[in-house]
Amino acid sequence: MAKAVTSANLDQYAQDFAATPAAPALQKAVMNNGILKVAENTASKVAMTPTFSVELDTGAVANQKQSGRCWMFAALNTMRHSIQAQFKIKDFELSQNFTFFWDKFEKSNYFYENIIATADQPTDSRKVAFLLTTPQQDGGQWDMLTALIDKYGIVPKSVMPETYSSSKSSELNATLNLKLRKDAVALRKLVNDGASADDLAATKSKFLSEDYRILAYTLGNPPTKFDFEYRDDDKEYHRDADLTPKSFYDKYIGWDLDQYQSIIQAPTADKPYNHLYTVEMLGNVVGGREVRHLNLSVEDFKAAAIKQLQAGKSVWFGSDVGKESDRQLGILDTNIYDQDGLFNTSFQMTKQNA
């Protein structure tokens, strides 16, 4: 049978269309307003009324602006909620720029090591093409944020505030990725010319110094020592002098991050439940904590989240927020758009196949 779309096919489709119930009316609605507006489901708005039996008080919402730091903001949000409660500082924020700086710096090193490890492969091999297409980007995982805190600690937002590039990272990413690609060419050449481990390390170190400079110019130089001043919700003044990012973490948050386990709910055939999984080349700190996901059944997954909320702790969670959501309404619901009804077909897929 032919693979091309034929006139006979087109005639058939036009007939099928003419036979579709309410097609002219639905067509006008979609042509004029787009798919989502026309398919939006009131039942979903009713079901998603924002009233909850278990609810934590979180204060004002933080803003990642035009950067991909959701994972940092989410993790630091869980931490700042505890500071807000314990030290009574309403709307307190931790520096998402501080973690951003160290993340990009460590990711540069991570990239170099991956390039060195794959230097024997051609540039269009799957892994090398993957590395060169995106040497680094803003995104990350919970374990990657904890790896940064383990190594570098954390500081209040007032000690390392936002800059143009932390709030809008596209220019920085373009520059840094250009630099990393150029460095990759040099490192691959060194490896393939049989350079010694010392020469390789020395070249890599020179590159990292330049990366440090690029990051310091765009994001600022991360502080090593600082004083922390604040007035609490009872209007009492506090001043904590000579803190380091690590001593600040220990005193103001002090969580044992080894007590936290990232769980996933991935019902695909290749990942049996109750096992740990990682993703190759997904990470930031070489020598640091690795991404480790424990795959659970949906019942265990939900039960764990509920238990944590009931214990008064917010829960970091990864999601696919761009789909099935209305930003204005603040609703994320698989039932929000009735595309099945609109197009008179089924769009349903199991989670496994999706």
Binding site: E113, K168, T218
Partner: protein, 410 residues
């Protein structure tokens, strides 16, 4: 030596930072205004002035809005420049929604054919994964526009105007991708249950009917026949009844696609000059024209473009418009942002290396409509884009002497 970053290294880098000339002032500037604003060359200088020795009049600029149809707009633009002279209609625009409808249908067909061709491949294998990730989008090559026009013809914009979805394709892309991935699962399940190739092909034909419906709701159904009414620039009324998209193409354009060759110029690894190359993954129209690129040295490419413009014909061209450009002023110049100077690190790479490392990519298509020849050599090019203001007027492209960089300015 350890692979991890040590505290000694960090301290060393901090010291080296302190030794960098002007680091405090430069850091302050970049933190306040960002890299581009801090490093941009001066706009409006003589080298970027929009004056050209050879140029073709082009009229009002079109607007692809929030869609990825640059490749189609660029080709239709070259056509309307050719036509406007012939029929005395200066701003005759061709329907981009018409071609977009068929483009998405053909791409869906290609996707489903590829799912069938790769039906035995495991999930996660490279080719299958690539198709599933990129299922169906707006983009395309020159040859895609040519294939669609050769197969379906062309119609005036007034006969099939833009809709919410043709102007703004995000929602439609999401819906199509969902549908196509679901269709892929169905085909794979059928295969696993023992479906024959004929049965899979029949399933594909059936699946396309639903895609047709989605597209008909989004773009409207393309007309099969229409009358064309227009006023020419002498205010004479014309009415041409009973046209089809193909007869309109033949009568008003009569373009012979076989007369056009696509030239590229790259010295990336594995690419040789005076060889031709294909790109099967972007041959979207099954049974249609196939992509065939002839790789030539840059000077040959330039000469061909100059000759075409001097011959009175505009030139479709692919480029990487987001790199080195300032949209506000419509300037596109190699090294427009002096980043190497700003950071004290040499960030330059030659063209071949840029392609090898995925630094360079052909991300956009526009039209060359003029050139400034000084002593026979091109110093800048005039470019027509298809974006909203401010980058809606012509741009100029200028060549940096001795380098492999080309620049575009407005």
């Amino acid at each position: 030596m350890s692979k991890a970053i040590s505290w000694q290294q960090v301290q060393q880098y901090q010291q080296e930072l302190q030794q960098q000339p002007g680091h405090a002032a430069l850091a302050r500037a970049v933190q306040n205004v960002g890299i581009k604003a801090a490093s941009r060359q001066q706009l409006g200088q003589a080298a970027f002035a929009p004056v050209f020795s050879d140029e073709i009049p082009t009229g009002v600029v079109t607007n692809q809005k929030h869609s990825g149809r640059c490749w189609m707009f660029a080709e239709l633009n070259t056509m309307r420049h050719a036509v406007s002279g012939k029929f005395g209609v200066k701003n005759l625009e061709f329907s981009q929604a018409f071609l977009a409808f068929y483009d998405r249908l053909e791409k869906s067909n290609q996707f489903l054919n590829q799912m069938i061709a790769n039906v035995a491949a495991p999930i996660g294998s490279r080719k299958l994964d690539w198709y599933l990730t990129w299922a169906n989008g707006d983009g395309g090559q020159y040859e895609n526009a040519a294939s669609l026009i050769a197969k379906y013809g062309v119609i005036p914009k007034s006969v099939m105007p833009e809709t919410y979805n043709s102007d703004n394709t995000t929602e439609l892309n999401a819906t199509l991708n969902l549908k196509l991935r679901q269709d892929a699962v169905a085909l794979r399940q059928a295969y696993a249950s023992g479906a024959t190739p004929d049965q899979l092909a029949a399933q594909r034909v059936q699946q396309l009917s639903t895609i047709y419906r989605i597209l008909a709701y989004a773009y409207g159904e393309p007309p099969r026949q229409f009358d064309f009414e227009y006023m020419d620039d002498q205010h004479q009324y014309h009415r041409v009844p009973g046209l089809t998209p193909r007869s309109f193409f033949d009568q008003f354009l009569g373009w012979d696609f076989d007369q056009y060759v696509m030239l590229i110029s790259t010295n990336a690894t594995g690419k040789e000059y005076w060889h031709s190359y294909t790109l099967p993954s972007q041959d979207h129209v099954e049974g249609g024209r196939r992509i065939l690129w002839v790789n030539v040295p840059e000077a040959v490419l330039e000469q061909a473009a100059i000759q075409q413009i001097q011959g009175g014909e505009t030139v479709w061209f692919g480029n990487d418009v987001l790199a080195d450009s300032d949209r506000q002023s419509g300037t596109l110049v190699g090294d427009l942002y002096a980043q190497s100077e700003l950071f004290g690190v040499d960030l330059h790479m030659d063209v071949g290396t840029r392609f090898d490392t995925h630094q360079a990519e052909v991300s956009h298509a526009m039209v060359l409509t003029g050139v400034d020849l000084v002593k026979g050599a091109p110093t800048k090019w005039k470019v027509e884009n298809s974006w909203a203001p401010p980058m809606d007027t012509t741009a100029t492209l200028s060549r940096m002497s001795g380098g492999s960089r080309t620049t575009l300015t407005q």
